[in-house]
């Protein structure tokens, strides 16, 4: 499997680099530099807080945009440019192609996130002079953001297996926003006390990926610790959901007539 998935992943990463995807790092660096210099001048007492909040939010937003907009085009572009046909003529299965593409984009997002994390660390040192023990929690929050990227990438690729990039973007964004509001959807059902509404909202709550689970920015910004149980539970949750989406996506993609 590695012999087939690996090269697809590496090539996907190379393609992203060639497409200057990592140029967003320049914008991130400017954002961090600007915040580090300006916040002390225009606000009171939140220099460090802003660097953490802004840094983590920017890592999350930049990555999500990349995951969605690159993810929806990964399969579609190969079909459009007809490069998929020459690829599938080789001893590679469609699900391996899909997993390879997924891994490649995840690698891109991972590299991007590592550079952004270094930028965030540099900005933190600039405003605070040194790291504090609770800063270790920031790395856990970044790990959660990476899990979120993986989940969104899997979603985008799943939709791109059977629809156009435009529709896939809308579907992925729709599911993402629903997932962010998962807790509220659950709350609406509880609030109405209507058994039918409660059943619908409860089903929806367990059906859509709960992105609220992965948001630890508030906690770490105030120096709070993240329990280890949440780390493994989130990891397992993301792994299961990604497996589900990739299996479903592979099934759809394998059955698709590419003629």
């Amino acid at each position: 499997m590695n012999a087939t998935v690996g090269p697809v992943a590496i090539n996907t990463f190379r393609e992203a680099v060639r497409d200057r995807v990592l140029y967003n790092l320049v914008l991130f660096a400017l954002l961090m530099i600007g915040a580090a210099i300006l916040v002390g001048e225009i606000s009171i007492g939140i220099e460090r807080l802003v660097i953490i909040n802004l840094g983590l939010s920017a890592i999350s937003i930049f990555g999500l945009v990349m995951a969605i907009f690159i993810g929806v085009g990964l399969v579609y572009k190969e079909i459009e440019k007809r490069t998929l046909y020459s690829l599938l003529a080789k001893p590679i299965r469609r699900w391996q192609f899909l997993v390879g593409k997924f891994a490649g984009l995840l690698l891109t997002l991972g590299v991007n996130t590592i550079f952004m994390t270094l930028g965030l660390a540099a900005a933190l040192v600039y405003v605070g002079g040194h790291f504090v023990r609770s800063d270790a929690s920031i790395l856990v929050a970044i790990y959660f953001i990476l899990l979120e990227f993986a989940l969104v990438t899997a979603l985008a690729m799943f939709f791109s297996c059977f629809s156009s990039p435009m529709l896939s973007t809308l579907f992925t964004l729709g599911i993402y926003i629903t997932g962010v509001f998962a807790d509220d959807i659950h709350g609406i059902g509880e609030f109405t006390k209507n058994p039918a509404v409660l059943a619908i909202t409860r089903t929806l709550y367990y059906l859509v990926p709960n992105f609220h689970n992965f948001n630890a920015i508030d906690t770490v910004a105030h120096g709070g610790a993240i329990p280890f149980s949440l780390v493994w539970q989130n990891t397992l949750y993301a792994a299961l959901y990604i497996a589900l989406l990739l299996v479903a996506g592979s099934a759809v993609f394998s059955g698709r007539n590419l003629k």
Partner: protein, 303 residues
């Protein structure tokens, strides 16, 4: 396109783009000048509900809280010190910031100062400041500083000494709280409104804060309290002078000549005190010292 045409186009762009930008900037300045008064009069928040903003933040609520707090600081900074300044949006901005991030301690602490200071230094709404700090205590029960702030708000702006003592006492129950909170609780309960208690509160604020503006404000208050104490003593001496000489002294020098003073007393800024015909001492008009309000008198709260 020929090379000559390309060169011409490049030069045209080099000259034209800055010119067009300059024209746009000039036009924007004109628009700003025309609409500034209108904008200030009609300044409004699109969303006043912190819960609604939180829902729309898509999980980035703490970043939005920072932005709203920064906006509150800017809003306050652009108005504080100006006569007839209105602070109508200060409370909604602080409300949204602290709803988005209930652990944003700085917004409770400084927000309470912005709200409680009388006009033109602030909104003159200590009642809202108390509400804000109470909310902060409910969200952050481990932060004893907020109890200290609440005690101060009740003491200084509301002159509600029983509630002030209760707030200090509540804060003193926190294992991390310094011992002065307990002393303050007893002191306020026993001698609320006295100069000694006021001096003790401002001294603690001066020593405990890291913020330069708050330190300066505390120092200003301590100087004002010292002047008030001096005036009280001089007024008593003036009464004694009248008993002795049949009239009030016209200056501190007259009291010095009568042997009632060992030296000419000066206010914390170095200016001598003056006497009115009624024998009441006061600061010279050019003295920068500001005497704080009489805490025995009822508070003034603007609504």
């Amino acid at each position: 396109m020929s090379h000559l045409s390309q060169t011409r186009a490049l030069w045209a762009a080099l000259a034209g783009v800055p010119l067009l930008f300059a024209a746009i900037a000039a036009l924007q300045m004109k628009i700003d000048a025309g609409t500034r008064a209108y904008m200030e009069e009609n300044e409004e928040l699109l969303l006043r509900s912190g819960s609604a903003v939180r829902k729309m933040s898509l999980g980035y609520d703490s970043l939005l809280a920072d932005l709203y707090w920064t906006r509150a600081v800017q809003y306050y900074g652009s108005r504080a010190g100006f006569a007839n300044a209105k602070f109508g949006l200060l409370w909604p901005l602080l409300d949204i910031a602290t709803t988005l991030d209930p652990k944003l301690i700085v917004a409770y602490r400084f927000g309470a100062i912005f709200l409680s200071e009388p006009s033109p230094a602030g909104a003159g709404r200590p009642d809202l400041a108390v509400e804000l700090v109470k909310r902060g205590i409910a969200e952050n029960p481990d932060d004893w500083n907020l109890n200290g702030d609440l005690g101060f708000l009740y003491y200084w702006w509301m002159r509600d000494y029983p509630n002030s003592a209760a707030a200090y006492l509540q804060g003193s129950k926190n294992p991390k709280a310094p011992s002065w909170l307990k002393i303050m609780a007893a002191r306020v309960a026993e001698k609320g409104g006295s100069l000694d208690t006021s001096r003790m509160i401002w001294s603690e604020i001066y020593q405990s804060t890291q913020d330069k503006k708050i330190r300066d404000r505390a120092m200003e208050m301590l100087r004002g309290l010292k002047a008030r104490e001096d005036e009280t003593e001089l007024d008593e001496l003036a009464q004694a002078y009248k008993i002795r000489f049949g009239h009030f002294p016209d200056s501190t020098k007259a009291m010095l000549d009568a042997g009632m003073l060992r030296a000419i007393p000066v206010d914390p800024a170095g200016y001598p005190y003056v006497f009115g015909p009624d024998g009441k001492s006061s600061l010279v008009p050019i003295s920068p010292v500001v005497i704080p309000p009489d805490l025995k008198a009822p508070p003034e709260v603007s609504k």
